[in-house]
C-alpha cells in the first residue's frame, strides 16, 4: 500500500487531526527509558573527569574527547 504513493493529489486540510497521531505512552516508555540511559552513559563517558568514574581504566577516553568536553561546555579543568 505504501508503494502506491504516486498520486500528485495535494493533501487537503481534511487530514487526520494532530491528536489522532499521538503514540500511546505504553509504547513510548521503553524507548524513552533506553534513550535516557544511553544518553546518560555517553555523557558520563565524555565528561568522565578525573578518572574516578572512567569505566575502562586510564585516561585514554578522557584525553581523546578533551577538546569536545571544553567546547561543548562540560566541566573539565
Amino acid at each position: 500500500m505504501a508503494h502506491a504513493i504516486s498520486s500528485p493529489t495535494p493533501i487537503s486540510g481534511t487530514g487526520p487531526a494532530p491528536s489522532d497521531l499521538a503514540i500511546p505512552i505504553r509504547e513510548l516508555t521503553p524507548w524513552l527509558v533506553l534513550g535516557a540511559l544511553l544518553a546518560m552513559s555517553v555523557l558520563v563517558l565524555i565528561s568522565s573527569v578525573q578518572g574516578a568514574i572512567t569505566i575502562p581504566e586510564g585516561t585514554a577516553i578522557h584525553e581523546w574527547v578533551h577538546d569536545g568536553r571544553h567546547l561543548l561546555g562540560f566541566p573539565c579543568h
Binding site: L43, S47, D67
Partner: protein, 265 residues
C-alpha cells in the same frame, strides 16, 4: 508515524548536527583552546606533558595523573578527538530529541507534527544547553583548579538535571492549563513555571569563580565559540528532524487519504 520513524530521523539529524558542531568548534573554537593552552604552558605550573592537560593538582584522585603520559597529541585532540565528542553528543541528543518528538506528537495543543517536533527541539536546546550555559558557562583549559573538578562536575550536572526536569514539568503544566483555559494561558503558565524554577535553582546552586587572572578577551572568544558550537548542534537537530518528520507526515497523510478514497468507492 511510529516511534521507530522518529528515532531513525533523530539519529540522522544528530549525526549531521555532530558534523556541524565539529566544523564550528574546529574553526571558531580551537584557536581559543590553543591560545588558552599556550597561556597554561607559559604559566608553566606543572605543564610539561605536551598535550595541554596539566591540572594544577594531580593528586585530586589517586592513581590518575595527566602529567606522566602524553597519551593523545594535541593534533589528535583537536581533530579526531573533537569530532568523536561532537558526533557522540550529537547522535545521542538527536536520538533522544527524536524520541521526545514522538512523545510530543499530537500532544502539544493543535500543533501538527512539524510544529511539535520543532518545539521539542527548541525546548531541548534551551533546557539542555542555553540555560546551563548561562549559569555555568564553558571554561577554556587553564581555568579551574583540579581540586574542585569533582564538585564542579556535580553542580553542573545537577543544574542540568533540574533544568531538564523543569522543562518537562512545565510542558505538563502548560497542557493541563491549556485544556482548562485555552492555549495562550497554557503557554504563558508553562514559560512562567520554567523561568521561575530555573531562576530559583540558579540562585540556590553555588557560584563557581575560578577564573583568576585569565585574560578576559580570550575567555569571551572561547565562550562565544562554545555557545556557537552548541547552537549549531541544536539548530541542525531541530531543522533536519523537523524536515524529516514533516516529510514522513506528508507521506502518512497521502496514504491515509488514498485509503479513505478507496474505502469510499
Amino acid at each position: 508515524m511510529s516511534t521507530r520513524t522518529f528515532l531513525v530521523h533523530g539519529l540522522v539529524a544528530g549525526l549531521l548536527a555532530g558534523l556541524a558542531a565539529f566544523v564550528v568548534a574546529y574553526t571558531v573554537g580551537e584557536p581559543q583552546v590553543d591560545r588558552a593552552i599556550a597561556l597554561e604552558e607559559a604559566a608553566g605550573a606543572t605543564a610539561t606533558d605536551g598535550h595541554g592537560h596539566a591540572h594544577d593538582h594531580d593528586d585530586a584522585s589517586a592513581g590518575h595523573s595527566h602529567g606522566e603520559d602524553a597519551a593523545v597529541s594535541r593534533t589528535t585532540q583537536s581533530t579526531l578527538g573533537l569530532a568523536t565528542g561532537t558526533l557522540a553528543i550529537g547522535v545521542v541528543l538527536g536520538g533522544l530529541t527524536g524520541l521526545l518528538a514522538a512523545l510530543g506528537l499530537g500532544r502539544l495543543g493543535g500543533l501538527r507534527p512539524a510544529g511539535s517536533t520543532a518545539l521539542v527541539a527548541l525546548l531541548g536546546a534551551v533546557s539542555f544547553s542555553v540555560v546551563p550555559f548561562l549559569k555555568y558557562p564553558a571554561t577554556p583549559p587553564a581555568v579551574g583548579s583540579g581540586e574542585t573538578i569533582d564538585s564542579r562536575t556535580a553542580v553542573y550536572f545537577g543544574f542540568l538535571a533540574v533544568s531538564v526536569a523543569a522543562v518537562v514539568l512545565a510542558v505538563a503544566l502548560a497542557r493541563r492549563v491549556a485544556r482548562q483555559w485555552g492555549g495562550v494561558p497554557g503557554v504563558l503558565a508553562g514559560v512562567a513555571a520554567y523561568v521561575v524554577a530555573v531562576a530559583v535553582a540558579a540562585v540556590a546552586f553555588p557560584k563557581v569563580d575560578e577564573l583568576g587572572d585569565f585574560p578576559a578577551g580570550i575567555l569571551w572568544d572561547f565562550r562565544v565559540a562554545s555557545l556557537l558550537t552548541l547552537l549549531a548542534m541544536w539548530a541542525v537537530i531541530g531543522a533536519v528532524l523537523t524536515l524529516l518528520v514533516d516529510r514522513a507526515w506528508q507521506r502518512h497523510s497521502a496514504v491515509q487519504a488514498r485509503r479513505e478514497l478507496a474505502a469510499s468507492l
